[in-house]
Symmetry: C3
Subunit: 370 residues, 3 copies
């Protein structure tokens, strides 16, 4: 069973996630044979030429990274194994710089600024020897400002790069980009929609720090209503066995029912609590989040009340198990006290660093496969 499931999973990981994506039209290819440089087109040709299970054919590759749910447990494991290898690649980057992605170009097409995410992707590409084309604020992309569709922009940019990392303010735009492009697309956040690489690095961090995902007890703390981060994380945690999730949040930003229903349907135990210390004493992971002021409009009073309610401080550390960790997607304001930073269980900056390894792994898998 496991073998069958793994094989199936591998296939799901490696096959383009949207089988309906238009392949380069052969008429166009025939007409302008040397104009195309789509690695996917060449992949398609290579794949068509090779027997289905041929051992010597070039390995197939991951298609696009659009949403956290596209990965099943085995696919996640694949990515995590490569991410772990990337730590060594990065460590050797001065002594023996990687040239794995030499000659590859990544375009970071950011329609809203997200310097942290952009730097992480660009560092990942460069640590593998690849090159980067940057647009720090593509919303003011002259073409977009003039009314060009995202699809047209993608069709142009795909001619200038080998992979597109897209940050957009509209939910669903990453899917639209991937449906258009003949090169891989990675969703680096599409508005209130998804931010799958954040979800992957969160789960990887738990695995890397705790050693396992099965059986973990996780507290999600803070703004559970608005944060796409905690929502995506809940989806992914549900793929593992015997997990338990605690929701600790001010009433105004409680976890919504859709996630609770989903966890029920997956048989994942969950519990709401208003006692952070009690929860912390039983948990492997405290995942703290920022209360987002912008969600409260003019009700600054509600924001201030919500904001001060659950703070991770020395008292939380005192009850947290020795092997436990504190996570946070960053940036933080004061929902984690500075006094916590010095504790080895404060994992949030290592978590940010893991974003690099996850993104290196995805770039490798998407561009050259295993």
């Amino acid at each position: 069973m496991a073998t069958t499931r793994a094989a199936l999973s591998l296939q799901r990981l490696l096959v383009p996630s949207n089988p309906g994506k238009p392949q380069p039209r052969s008429t166009v290819l025939a007409r302008f044979p040397s104009t195309t440089s789509s690695s996917r087109a060449r992949r398609a040709v290579a794949a068509a030429a090779a027997p289905a299970a041929a051992v010597l054919s070039p390995p197939p590759r991951l298609g696009d990274v659009i949403e956290a749910q596209q990965f099943d447990r085995d696919a996640l494991n694949e990515i995590f194994v490569v991410a772990r290898e990337m730590e060594a690649v990065e460590r050797d980057s001065h002594r023996k710089p990687s040239r794995l992605l030499e000659g590859y170009l990544m375009a970071t097409l950011f329609y809203e600024p997200s310097t942290r995410t952009r730097l992480s992707f660009e560092c990942a590409m460069r640590r593998l020897g690849g090159e980067v084309l940057t647009t720090e604020n593509a919303r003011e992309f002259s073409s977009a400002a003039k009314g060009e569709t995202l699809e047209d922009t993608i069709r142009t940019v795909e001619g200038y790069s080998d992979i597109i990392v897209l940050r957009h303010f509209e939910s669903g735009s990453a899917r639209r980009a991937a449906d258009t492009a003949n090169i891989p697309v990675i969703n680096a956040g599409d508005g209130p929609g998804q931010h799958p690489t954040q979800a992957l690095l969160d789960v990887y961090t738990i695995k890397r720090e705790i050693g396992t995902l099965d059986g973990i007890k996780l507290a999600l703390v803070g703004d559970l209503a608005n944060g796409r981060t905690v929502r995506s994380l809940a989806y992914l945690i549900a793929k593992y066995q015997n997990t338990k999730i605690y929701f600790v949040s001010p009433d105004v930003v409680k976890m919504k029912d859709d996630i609770k229903d989903y966890l029920d349907s997956q048989g994942v135990e969950w519990e709401e609590s208003s006692d952070l210390l009690e929860v912390a004493s039983k948990c492997d992971v405290i995942y703290q989040t920022r209360i987002q002021k912008e969600r409260f409009g003019e009700r600054i009073d509600l924001y201030e009340a919500a904001r001060g309610k659950y703070i991770v401080d020395k008292k939380v550390l005192d009850v947290l198990p020795k092997h436990g960790i504190i996570m946070h997607p960053l940036p933080r304001l004061d929902e984690i006290e500075k006094e916590v930073d010095g504790d080895p269980r404060a994992a949030y900056f290592r978590q940010a660093k893991n974003g690099l390894y996850i993104r290196m792994a995805l770039l490798k898998l998407l561009l050259v496969g295993h």
Copy 2:
């Protein structure tokens, strides 16, 4: 005659286009012999040392790219031959990345944003192994904001790069930059002035898609009054034999008399028409352009009328010859219907891609010659 003309043309292509450009003063060179790194200075020295027609001396190089008119027919052909070679260079970029421009630095000095053009140049440089320094919005360049002249900025930036790609909002600024710089300058658009690399890629696309430029029938459609693109294209087309140009545009944005007079003086046949279908049935190339809303001020009614008048749609495709193509400088709004995109004759995204090959060719010719 042809030989003589070709030789002359080659010389015109390769010699710096502004012979009056100041060469590094020898007094300064003598005083600080190792401070200069101008490749042009070294070129000048090498050229002076070598006999005029020496076979073994390093090949001379193109000077600057300032305006479409600087290229004659043979110079264009030179560039197109190299552009075609660049397709193979790009195709091999994963398997065998080019290192032709390794160690060369291109500065993109953009005083107004033009992401498409910038990405195309930066991709070109990187596909040849070169490196890039980017300024996405040099207008806010602190120095410019403080009142520094373009000349002073150029004198500084030329110390940090090997070639400058300049986008500026003022007509004539590229010429001023080239007159100042001791390294090559490429005009990437100077306000209402010129955008020579766009003109080159347009002509290259016709040559690449149709196979020839002599004898072609070309319809220029849309905003012919304001678009520098169609004006530059008309100038270049006039260099070929037996061509015919149709102007199809709303009355408010008709082609101006200076271009018509120029075509007359060159013996190029032209005709105005208000029947796009009739024209399309006789043409090799339909060059559609966007009606620019910003030109109409408060007369939105005139804009709306002009905008809807000539649309490239399925009906145009039905009458366009089988070998014909649809071009557009992009971005497009709805002046070309989406239904056209799937037709192999829709050449506009291949046209955008050709911008990459043309820019690769120019960078090669400007920096290392043939």
Copy 3:
């Protein structure tokens, strides 16, 4: 004595300038041995393993570059020797590109735009074979906008790079960044505070052009009250023997007493004068600066009066000694007439170029040592 002093100085140059900087906690290192990639951590380990004066151990490195005063005379000389070597590295960059910093990543974290400084650093890194992550306006860094502390930003960015070049609007921020980071930090200007690489390149230019610093006569002209440039320069000049400084400035922007007191305490001769021509006839270096309009608020009349008072023009050149030079930190407005540019003694663009060599030298010293 000289030997002893040189050794001491070398040590001061090479030891991290803030000995209190937190080293990676060994508990964390033990827990996540492969997560760290801090070159400084590895350096620390290497240093600990080697005998104090071992000849074969890898050379120690410069720590951070925070303020001009951190360098003593011998440290300055160290940097200048390497800067001079960098001229040859740059000159060979086409024929034999340097790979000294291959695999190293520099993050330019600019909280306010300074294109000239940024391009100079990025060029420096690339001329040595290193790579760059750019943030052109980190003030709009989404995290900073959300209230993240500089310290948290640094902790994240240090995970994505090997060295941070920081430009910030707050005095003291470079020191705070260096105290936080486990990788080297270079101050590229922190508000009204310091801009040490500008001071270094200024002193290097005098040395490179005049041949010596001891005994030079230097006129500081223009806005001496507000310019951090002339203040830093005065500090550094005081480290040399038998120098004399002339202050030539409108009354409203005279040099402040703290610098005069400092020069007195160091035994440096100085003199105020209102006769630029008389001063110029006795000087080796005229250091002209821009009168900063923004300092005058609504008193445009005062600005206009101050601005026109001391102009470097042909008349100044007529009396300046043959071996003398004109310097300016740029950008300039009209405080140096264009007619001066053609004179070999106009050193300001060579001065800007020297910024490249100084920054190359610092990057080399900080990242790989001698």
